[in-house]
Each structure stands twice: as structure tokens, then as C-alpha cells.
Amino acid sequence: MKKLIPLLILSVLTLSLSSCRKIIDIEQEEADQTTVIQAELYEGTNDFSVKITKTGNFFGDNSLEVITNATVTLDDGTTSYPISHTGNGRYILPAFTAISGTEYTLVVNENGNNFEAKATMPALVPIDTVTYVFLPQSTFTDEGYLTQIEFQDPAGEENFYRLFLTIQDELFGDIENLILLDDGFLDGNRIEFPLFAADVAQAFDTITMELHSCDENTLTYLEGVDEVLGGGNGAPPANPDGNFNNGALGNFSVYAVAKKSTVIIP
């Protein structure tokens, strides 16, 4: 909304007056480089990948310095697994089996600085059905099929979800268009969630839903990313709040993924 108003004013003034745009240089104070750690652990047996970089420039050349000499370990409470660097700042623990309900601790030691994050793998919440309903053209949508995911939210616990939808080859729900959900007001309900955030699908399209159950911290972090990328909703911008201590940016995220596909039959 806040963005819409100035935009509207601007568009009108552009016509009637002489508003103008130009590229300018912003005076930047040299900010200290900060360590950024991105780690995603998936339930089941998968390669566990950790990427470690430093922050770089925002303007101009935005290549990042990668950290290749960090000591990285994942601990599941009984065993500590060392994770080795495989190139370009990426550290991979191959074919690791992550189990729901287990708390994992990721420790990164980079040049003597220790960064630690803890996360508990959530339980997988299965998708019941993927449905769709035909919408005529309107203010809000083109003509086509609005897709909807239906699943049973587990009662008596807080659940957090990130949703992905693929229509043919087009992905919705990526980091720039996050679709996030929590069961704050819906605990234990059967959730029927229409994906207004995605485009409508057309007849005979293949649609695939992915329901990523995550922990609360991962959702908070993603909301923070959404805010800085979207320019916020009025509040001053700030770095997304990840779960690493010691000032590292990024997050140790945990997901349990359910997936379901269907074809739209008119």
C-alpha cells in the first residue's frame, strides 16, 4: 500500500509536471565485511549443503568473497559429523539422514570465529489433495484455474510452512516471491489454501505442490528476507534475523518436504 500511493502520485505528476529519474552515486561508508552462512537441512537422506561467504558490495561488482578454509561440523546430539569444503565456499555432507524431532547443531569456525546455530527438524505434514477451481477474468486475475492445496494441520503444536508451486515449468514461491504460512489461527484444522500468490493455471497443465514444513526460526528468517527484498512495509529496513550467534548473517534452515502433482482436467 505504502508503495502504491507515491507511485500513483508520481504517475500523475509525471504526466502533469516534470518528474525525472536519474542514476546517482550514493556516498557509502566502508562497512565491515560480515560472515554469511546459508545451510539447508532436509528431512530424510540428502546431501547437506552449507555455503559460507563474506558480505560484498551492494552497488557495482557484487561478487562475494567465499570462505574455503572454515571448519564445519554438524552435531545430532550423539555424533559430530565433519563437513568438508567441496569448492567455491560450499561444504557438503553427502547422503546424510536427518530425522524429525532431532535437534541439530551446526558449528562453523572461520578464522578463529565460532558461529553456532541450532534447529529441530519438524515432522513432515503430508498433502491431502491439490485442487483447482476455474476463475473468470476479473480485477485480480486472468481467466484460468486457481490452484489450492489441502492438508491436515497437526493439532496441539505450532507448524510453519513454506509453499512451492510449479505450473508446467514455472516455479512460484522462490525467494523473491515467498509463500509462507503458519497455523497461528488454524491449529489442528484442515487447511485449504488457495494460491492467489501464483498465476492461474490453464487446462491440461501439470501442477506440482511442495509443502515444506519448517521450524519457527526458519519462517521468521524468510519473512525477514521477504521484507528487505520487498522494501519493507514502512518500517526501517533491517537484516533478517537468522539463528547463528556471534553476528553471522544467513540461517541454518530445516525442512521436511511433502510433494504432490496433478494435471488440470477441465
Binding site: P6, V36, N233
Partner: protein
């Protein structure tokens, strides 16, 4: 508290028992019967004795028995002398003739000679709405707020930002009063124009500090605007045709010399031009604002007079049927002046203030609408007791009942459950007592005490208490109008003047102000959708202390006025958002807030030339405004958004002939402090900005020059008119409205900063008439 006032009155009266008689009455403009505010009453035989008229044109002065020559005077009027033998109380109803030399000088700042030096008040700026018409402004819309921002210590955030900043305070720390009613949002079109139609305004004072005890409720400043009463002699019309809007004012007597009315309207018409556009995206766009000022007064008898005034203004934006947005203020004031005696003047006011906004997205049965508002009922009782020629005592009480509607989301869509956040209720009250005491010809003090208190009231719902992390620590049910939280505090006010010579003085002031309601303002630009919230169990009142010291000097028979004022402010219980706060339709918005403190300090230099063919002023302000919050920037001091370090204004008005007046102004201000990324990193392949702290970057410096010329047609008894031509932003400076970060066209994947500026060179023409 009542006892305290009583005791103080007894004390003051006990020290001054004598055989005095009182001269009292009113001073008016002979041409239209308007009360003259701030007109002087001087006694030739007693050079140190005098009085000035109050906002209703009333004065009272007690003198020992004797023969006197009384001189009544006001800026722009011929002085009038009366010889009297004072053996009993006397009443005067003085009408002053307009001075023929009015044209020679444009004393825009509406002050009588030497008043800057001799008055006890400091940190106050005044404007004569009639004279500002020669100062060039955007699109020829004469604008009191824009003209004030050319004065030291009062700053604008640039084009497209609503409101103004006084001595490092925020937009919400300004108390803006129109005939005593609070105006919550003083800008049209997101700050391009102020809501005050100069045609309907008689007098404006802006207190930057040392405010008298009768004012309270905001931390930084008071802008007190008095509407015209209307011509009580004859019917008249005046108006203007401008590039963006037109104005029409009608005024006249209800009963000659007993009552009058004024109706003044203004409407912009940019949208009417848009209708002519062949582009369908524009020709169904709505974009206009209007103002309507109404006032009527009636003098029942010498002791009683009634006033009724109202203001209605609205901005309307819309694109086709898909999007609509409108907001506006409405105020109403009913006042009763009553004279208990020649010495005791009373005014009782009943006031309503409302501000609301609404937007609608989508048409027909698919639409969503959002509304929010604030509504005040206010009752005020003020007394002025003109004890003797040395003491003027003012005291009064005030109670405001606030209703804040934080928002409701409605939809025509059947399956949609409306969201209606519960109204927040509160009362804000105050009692005050003040005396202006002349100790000698050289030394006078205005001292006062205000006690204000605030009740945050329940509304038959649960009230949550949050800890600093934003978690609920307590939830308790309160009935409607049950006190949830009480705050109260004393607000001492002090202003002292010592004359160093006939034309120079030093002044000092101290004031403490409590502010109980707060504007949660978007930190990147102020907008009509910023919401007001009351102090509560989670939000403490802001407490702002200011000390100021000033030196005032006039040169060359008052041709030049010079002043320098320094101030220091301590701001407690300041409010800001936590990092990454969620604001929209958030019933728990208080948990998104964080609390800290601030300081502001500065020095203001002001040199004004008031006489001669060339008049105008130079002003330079150095100031800082810093905040300190534990939760922001690791608890270190950081600049407030309005930390505009250097500010220069130059205004020149040159009168070539009776017919031609030219003017020019120049402003320079340090850029606003803003939060920009200081680096970036990647999340899932996308560059995410990295912020190293709040408000660590700056917009580019703001500067601009405007020029104008006014041509007066030959004035007759029946008709006068003038043409005003102006050029805004003469050298086409592209000042920053906003900065966006976009992908570099030449280097895909890289980010550059793109500045949007609104106005390059804007010429305009306005025609004004009066008959």
C-alpha cells in the same frame, strides 16, 4: 491542584493592593471590523507600561488615577491617541485605520517594531498571511507552513514529505491548532501543500520553545492559527485563480458591527485537466483536494460574544473504479467569550477534531476497503486576569476525550471475514497557571506551571502487556472506560528577558512538555496512513525538556533585526520501530515498538531587514538531532531522520514601484538521514541488501531557488487585484524525492541507485482579486 491556583492567586493579589483604575476594550480594523491580535496599548506618560490585545482583540490595563495619553497601534495601521483623565474604569472600542504606507514595506513576519527585542517570549515566529503572497512558492499556492520553513529552526523534509520539523523534533511533535482545534494532518497531496487556505487566516504564531503554559500535548512546537472573523462592516468577496487551484472567500456582517461570517473555499483541479487526456489510464484518474473554512461570530453584548468556526478538508485520489484513496481533517470550535469584569476575561471552548483516511481496492463485489480515524472531543476553559500593569495572570483547564480507530478491513467478498481492530480510548487533561510579571523596565519573566495527566481507558477487551522481546507477559480484561494506565506530570515553563539597552536584549527559557499521543510514522516518508496511538501500559508519554538562550539586537532604527538563539533538548521515552516491524492492520502494533531517548541541539542565526525598498532575511541554523535506542545500532547514538545539520534560507523582497514587487528565495539543507544498504550477500541466488545500521546514509543535499514578481492593478475603493508570476526551482535542481535500487541496465546483475525528483523548473501564474 485547584487549591494551588487559589493560593497562587491570593499570593499575587496580596502583593498589589492599590487605587488603580482599569482601561479595557477591543481594538479592531476600521475597514472590516476584524479584531486586531497583538495590537499595542501604550501610555505616553509611563513609557514602561503597556498592554497588547489577545486573540479576540481584547485588552485590559490598570493604572493609577491620573491624566494620560493612550496610544493604540498595530502593524500596518495608523496609531491613534486619546487623552484621558482616569478617575474611573474606562472602556474603549478602538477602530484603527489602515496605514497608507502599507505598500512600502512587506514585513512578512508580522511583528511590531522592537517586539522581537522587548517581548518576554523567545523562540516564536510570526507570519502575516496577507504579506506572504509575494514570496514565491510551488505552483503559486501561498502557504504558511512552506513560508515558516524559510525561518531558522523550522525545516521541511523536501518535496513530497508531509509536515515540518522544529528544532530536531519529529512531525508528530508539532501541535497544530486551527481556532484551538487540533489538525492531525496538515498536508495535502502528501505534503506538497498545507491544508491552510491563507485567505481564511488572520494570524499565525509558531512557538519553537518557551511555549506559554496554556499550550501542551506535543513535545516540540506549537503552531497556533487564528481564522479571520469576517467583515462586520460590509459584504465582500475575494479570491484567486491559480495553476493548480482556485479560491473564493465570501464575508460580511450578520448584524452590522455585532456579528459577521466568513466562508472560504479552495479546490484543486489537476484532475480536470487529466480528464482531457486521451490516455484512458489518466482520464479516469481522480486527484484533487479541497478546503472549506467557515466562521461566524456574534457579539451578544459588551460582556458576551460567541464564535463558531469549522474546517473541512479532504484529498481524493483514485484510478478508475479499481483504486480509491481519500483522507482529510474536520474540526469544529464553539467559543464563548465572557467578561467577568474589566480585568477578568474568560473563554470557554467546545472543540471537535477528526482525522480519517480510507482506501478501496477493486470494484463492486470484489472490493476491499480499509478505514482508520482519530476523533477528539475537547472542552477548554481559559481565564486571563489582568491584575495590574505589572502582572498578567492566565489559568485554565482542558479535557480531551480521544477515540483512536486503528483500522478496519472490510470487503464485499462474501467469504471474507471483516477485521475490525478495537477502538482505543483515552482522556488527556491539564490545568495551568501562568503569570507574566514585569519586575522593572528592563526585566520581565513569564513563569507558569502546567499539570497534565492522561488516562488510557479499557474498551471491554483484553489489554496485553509486552516485554522488550515483544512477548505477552500479561493479559487482563478491562471494562469500557476503566483506567488501564494513568500518567501525569508537571510541566514547568519559564521565559525571562533582560534589556541590555533600548535595542538589545538577552532572553532565556526553559520548558518541559509531555506528549501522550504518538504518530507511528513510516520512517522512509510520512504518509496519510501513518497512525496515531495513545500512551498505554506499554507506551510511556514522551517527555521533552528544552533550554534556550538568545541575544536580540536591532540596528539602524529597527531597519535591521538580528538574533541568535541556542537550544538544547533532552527527549525521553522516544519511540521507534524494532528492526523488521510489521505495521499494517496489526492489532498488536505496540509489540513492534522499541523505546529510547534522544538529544537535539542547535544554534539559529537570523538577520532581517524590515524597512526600505529591499526587505527580507537571512537565516542559518546549525543543528543536530540524535537518538539512542538499546535495540538499534547496538545502543549507539544515531541521527534522527530530521537531523538536517546545516540549513540556510535567504528571502529577498524588492519593491520597484507601487505596482511591481519582486521576490526571490533560496534554501539549502543537508539531506535527510536514511537507511541504505552498505553491502549485499546472496540468499538462494538473489542479492539481499545488508544494512550496517539505522540512518547511516544521507539523501543528497537539498537546495533550490525561487523567484516571483507581483503586479498590482490600480486599487479603487471597490476593487483591487494583482497578478503573481513565479518560477519554482529556477535553476532546475533535481532534488531527491526518493531513491530506489534497481538493476544496472549496462551491467546486468549489478545494482545502482536511481533517484526520483519531482519538480524541475515550474513556472506558474496566479490572479488574486478582492471587492
Amino acid at each position: 491542584m485547584k487549591n494551588l491556583i487559589f493560593v497562587a492567586l491570593i499570593f499575587i493579589s496580596s502583593i498589589t493592593i492599590s487605587q488603580d483604575f482599569t482601561i479595557s476594550g477591543t481594538i479592531k480594523d476600521a475597514s472590516n471590523g476584524e479584531d486586531l491580535i497583538g495590537a499595542t496599548i501604550k501610555v505616553k506618560e509611563l513609557p514602561s507600561v503597556g498592554a497588547i490585545t489577545n486573540v479576540y482583540g481584547f485588552f485590559s490595563l490598570s493604572l493609577p488615577k491620573g491624566d494620560y495619553t493612550i496610544v493604540f497601534n498595530s502593524l500596518g495601521f495608523k496609531p491613534q491617541e486619546q487623552k484621558i483623565a482616569l478617575t474611573e474604569n474606562k472602556k474603549f472600542n478602538i477602530e484603527l485605520e489602515v496605514s497608507s504606507i502599507e505598500f512600502e514595506e512587506f514585513n512578512v513576519t508580522g511583528e511590531i517594531e522592537d517586539e522581537n527585542v522587548s517581548s518576554t517570549e523567545m523562540g516564536v515566529e510570526k507570519l502575516d498571511p496577507k504579506s506572504i503572497e509575494v514570496i514565491p512558492v510551488l505552483l503559486g499556492e501561498k502557504d504558511i507552513i512552506k513560508t515558516f520553513t524559510l525561518m531558522p529552526g523550522i525545516k521541511s523534509g523536501g518535496e513530497g514529505t508531509g509536515g515540518f520539523f522544529v528544532r530536531g523534533g519529529g512531525v508528530d511533535q508539532n501541535l497544530v491548532l486551527l481556532d484551538e482545534a487540533v489538525v492531525y494532518n496538515a498536508s495535502h497531496l502528501l505534503g506538497f501543500f498545507s491544508v491552510f487556505n491563507s485567505d481564511a487566516i488572520k494570524d499565525v504564531s509558531l512557538y519553537k520553545g518557551g511555549m506559554p503554559a496554556q499550550y501542551g500535548g506535543r513535545g516540540s512546537s506549537v503552531m497556533d492559527i487564528t481564522m479571520k472573523d469576517g467583515n462586520s462592516k460590509k459584504f465582500g468577496a475575494s479570491g484567486g485563480l491559480g495553476v493548480i487551484s482556485s479560491r473564493l472567500t465570501l464575508e460580511g456582517p450578520i448584524v452590522k458591527d455585532k456579528g459577521s461570517f466568513i466562508v472560504s473555499g479552495r479546490r484543486s483541479y489537476a484532475d480536470l485537466f487529466l480528464k482531457l487526456s486521451p490516455n484512458p489510464d489518466f482520464n479516469d484518474t481522480k486527484l484533487y483536494f479541497y478546503d472549506l473554512n467557515l466562521k461566524a461570530n456574534y457579539k451578544i453584548n459588551d460582556k458576551n460574544r460567541l464564535f463558531l468556526s469549522g474546517y473541512f478538508g479532504r484529498d481524493v485520489l483514485g484510478v478508475g473504479t479499481d483504486f480509491g484513496f481519500n483522507w482529510g481533517n474536520a474540526t469544529g470550535t464553539l467559543r464563548w467569550n465572557h467578561l467577568f469584569s474589566d480585568k477578568l476575561f474568560s473563554n470557554t471552548s467546545l472543540i471537535v477534531s477528526n482525522y480519517d483516511y480510507e482506501f478501496i481496492i477493486g470494484g463492486g463485489d470484489e472490493s476491499f476497503g480499509f478505514k482508520a480515524s482519530i476523533l477528539d472531543y475537547n472542552i477548554k476553559q481559559d481565564f486571563s486576569y489582568f491584575l495590574n500593569d505589572k502582572n498578567t495572570v492566565k489559568f485554565g483547564v482542558n479535557v480531551i476525550y480521544h477515540t483512536f480507530d486503528p483500522g478496519q478491513l472490510l470487503s464485499e467478498i462474501e467469504s471474507f471475514t471483516p477485521i475490525d481492530l478495537n477502538d482505543l480510548l483515552a482522556t488527556e487533561s491539564a490545568v495551568y497557571l501562568q503569570n507574566e510579571q514585569k519586575f522593572s523596565e528592563l526585566f520581565s519573566i513569564q513563569y507558569g506551571l502546567r499539570y497534565s495527566f492522561f488516562n488510557y481507558l479499557g474498551n471491554s477487551d483484553d489489554v496485553k502487556t509486552y516485554n522488550t522481546a515483544g512477548d505477552v507477559t500479561q493479559t487482563q480484561f478491562y471494562n469500557r472506560h476503566e483506567t488501564v494506565q494513568f500518567y501525569g506530570g508537571f510541566e514547568p515553563r519559564l521565559a525571562a528577558k533582560y534589556m541590555l539597552s533600548e535595542s538589545s536584549s538577552v532572553k532565556a527559557s526553559f520548558n518541559r512538555n509531555y506528549q501522550y499521543i504518538h504518530l507511528l510514522s513510516n520512517a522512509t516518508a510520512s504518509s496519510p496512513t501513518d497512525s496515531w496511538v495513545p500512551s498505554s501500559n506499554n507506551v510511556k508519554p514522551q517527555i521533552i525538556d528544552q533550554v534556550a538562550l538568545g541575544y536580540f539586537r536591532n540596528f539602524k532604527d529597527n531597519m535591521f533585526e538580528f538574533s541568535v538563539e541556542g537550544y538544547f533538548k533532552n527527549l525521553q521515552n522516544q519511540i521507534d520501530y524494532k528492526n523488521g516491524a510489521e505495521l499494517f492492520l496489526n492489532g498488536d502494533v505496540e509489540k513492534e515498538l522499541t523505546f529510547g531517548r534522544g538529544i537535539a541541539y542547535g544554534a539559529e542565526f537570523y538577520l532581517k531587514k524590515t524597512k526600505g525598498k529591499l526587505s527580507g532575511w537571512l537565516s542559518y541554523t546549525y543543528s543536530r538531532s540524535l537518538r539512542q535506542f538499546d535495540a538499534i545500532n547496538d545502543g549507539e547514538y544515531y541521527p534522527a531522520r530530521q537531523d538536517l545539520i546545516h540549513d540556510i534560507s535567504v528571502v529577498g523582497i524588492y519593491k520597484f514601484t507601487e505596482k511591481w514587487v519582486a521576490s526571490a528565495s533560496f534554501v539549502y539543507t543537508t539531506g535527510l538521514a536514511v537507511t541504505f544498504p552498505s553491502g549485499g550477500y546472496q540468499v538462494e541466488g538473489v542479492t539481499v541488501p545488508f544494512y550496517s545500521g539505522r540512518n547511516q546514509s544521507r539523501f543528497p543535499d537539498y537546495h533550490r531557488m525561487d523567484v516571483g514578481v507581483t503586479w498590482y492593478n490600480k486599487k479603487t475603493d471597490k476593487f483591487e487585484s494583482n497578478w503573481n508570476f513565479s518560477i519554482y526551482n529556477l535553476y532546475g535542481r533535481e532534488n531527491t524525492f526518493s531513491i530506489a535500487f534497481i538493476e544496472d541496465e549496462n551491467n546486468p546483475g549489478q545494482t545502482v541507485a536511481e533517484q526520483t525528483s519531482l519538480f524541475k523548473i515550474i513556472p506558474s501564474v496566479t490572479y488574486n482579486f478582492k471587492f
